[in-house]
């Protein structure tokens, strides 16, 4: 059963360049992550699905799946240098059997790759650093290719979200679901630090209204022009929208923090309230 649905940023600077950020902004973001951790714990979640957009840690253009789901007993990370990312090496628990049941249900409507081996990069490691710092909640990683075009159209991310919801509701475990990614950003390029706040706020407005038509309006050429390559990661947010099934959303924190290279965000859907 799905008991929590939210989104957050995952930029490596959030932990790796923490000392270079405006302390007020950084501490505000960290507090927001803390509140998200508490909300997930309060939901009684027994497992956490993380819909991420990894960055060539496991998946590469030699064999690039549009969608992949982890099916392992454990996941090691971070794949990046620990000092660079500011996160110590860890082993996060998985739940192979739960993954298998979720995958089987998702596959009824959405084609997937699965992976019995998966090393977390910052796309998952940064959120977990804040949300399950004791690594006491089994993780089911889900990846959407947002790096190596051609990318699956955003409508397919919506379909994935609907399938994940159906799958989560089909198992007895209490399931939390988060999507992680940037909104507008130009990560790891000369334009790192540029953030299109107006575009981000418009996107988050659509996300909170959970307006399917408005969310599926985006195409990659426009997204790239207005929101950079990092904007392709809105797929993870859109997947969570679909999974939340018309529930209303709230942005708990949004602030452009240039040294973190993204408009830092936490937001969630209220699954207990009737759809808008």
């Amino acid at each position: 059963m799905l008991v929590y649905a939210g989104v957050c940023s995952h930029a490596p600077g959030i932990t790796g360049r923490a000392d270079q950020a405006d302390p007020m902004a950084r501490d505000g973001l960290y507090r927001a992550f803390g509140e998200m951790r508490e909300a997930i714990a309060a939901s009684g979640a027994e497992a956490l699905i993380v819909v991420a957009a990894e960055h060539f840690a496991n998946f590469f253009m030699n064999n690039m799946p549009s969608f992949a789901v982890g099916m392992a007993e454990f996941y090691d990370g971070p794949i990046e240098d620990s000092a660079w990312l500011g996160i110590e090496k860890f082993r996060a628990p998985g739940d192979r059997d739960l993954s298998k049941r979720l995958i089987a249900e998702v596959m009824q409507t959405v084609d997937l790759a699965y992976a019995e081996e998966w090393k977390f990069d910052h796309g998952i490691a940064v959120p977990l650093h804040f949300l399950t710092p004791d690594f006491d909640v089994p993780i089911v990683p889900v990846n959407i290719n947002c790096q190596g075009p051609p990318l699956a159209p955003i409508a397919r991310s919506w379909a994935l979200g609907e399938a994940l919801r159906r799958a989560a509701d089909s198992v007895p475990e209490r399931i939390a679901l988060i999507g992680t990614g940037g909104i507008s950003h130009w990560p790891a390029t000369p334009d790192s630090g540029k953030i299109n706040e107006a575009w981000d706020r418009d996107f988050l407005d659509r996300w909170c209204r959970n307006d399917k038509a408005a969310l599926l309006e985006y195409d990659d050429a426009t997204v790239y022009a207005d929101a950079g390559q990092g904007g392709f990661e809105i797929r993870t947010f859109v997947t969570v929208s679909a999974a939340a099934s018309s529930a209303p959303g709230t942005v708990h924190f949004y602030e452009p923090i240039p040294i973190f290279a993204v408009g830092c965000t936490t937001a969630s859907y209220d699954l207990t309230r009737p759809p808008r």
Partner: protein, 175 residues
């Protein structure tokens, strides 16, 4: 989009690349754009401490098993971060290569800017295909593509989109 980017690449760039092609392995095509293999090498290097050890010991020998041009091989040995970015290497791979070489963050960003300044717009890959936005050159201003705009490609059209450049934080230049 793709066609515009293709035109933006232009025959001049292709010929320049052809003339710098090398490679000594028998049976391997000598004059191909091999961005894929540059990135494949960096992807594998980022994942494998064993490969990193071999790279430090004898980089040329390691690179021999990848289909690379002389230009690419030299850039990977140097390392020439600016040239690698110009060639089209994805920053999500390149930033770890820079970190491996103890190049700190602001220096990494500057080297990419210098690479574009020296070599021109990104030649291939995700940034080139979609019309690379450009550098922080205040003379160009936001929203002007450093890539295909001059060629009358997609960048120029995109630059005319209303609302572009507004509400954009200038970013790391301010830090």
């Amino acid at each position: 989009m793709l066609r515009a980017a293709d035109e933006a690449l232009g025959s001049g760039v292709r010929q320049a690349t052809m003339s710098t092609c090398g490679g000594s392995r028998p049976g391997v095509p000598r004059c191909v754009l091999s961005l894929y293999y540059v990135q494949k090498f960096l992807f594998e290097l980022n994942r494998s401490e064993e490969l990193q050890t071999s790279y430090w010991a004898d980089g040329r020998a390691v690179l021999d098993s990848y289909t690379l041009t002389t230009e690419e091989e030299d850039a990977l040995i140097e390392p020439d971060i600016g040239l690698l970015f110009h060639l089209g290497v994805n920053g999500q791979i390149l930033m770890h290569f820079a970190a491996l070489h103890q190049i700190e963050w602001q220096d990494y960003l500057q080297r990419m800017r210098d690479g574009i300044e020296t070599h021109g717009p990104v030649r291939e890959g995700v940034y080139a295909v979609t019309g690379y936005e450009g550098t922080h050159d205040p003379g160009r201003g936001p929203g002007i593509s450093a890539g295909s705009a001059e060629e009358g490609g997609s960048g120029a059209e995109l630059a005319e989109r209303p609302g572009r450049g507004t509400g954009i934080s200038a970013g790391s230049a301010e830090e």
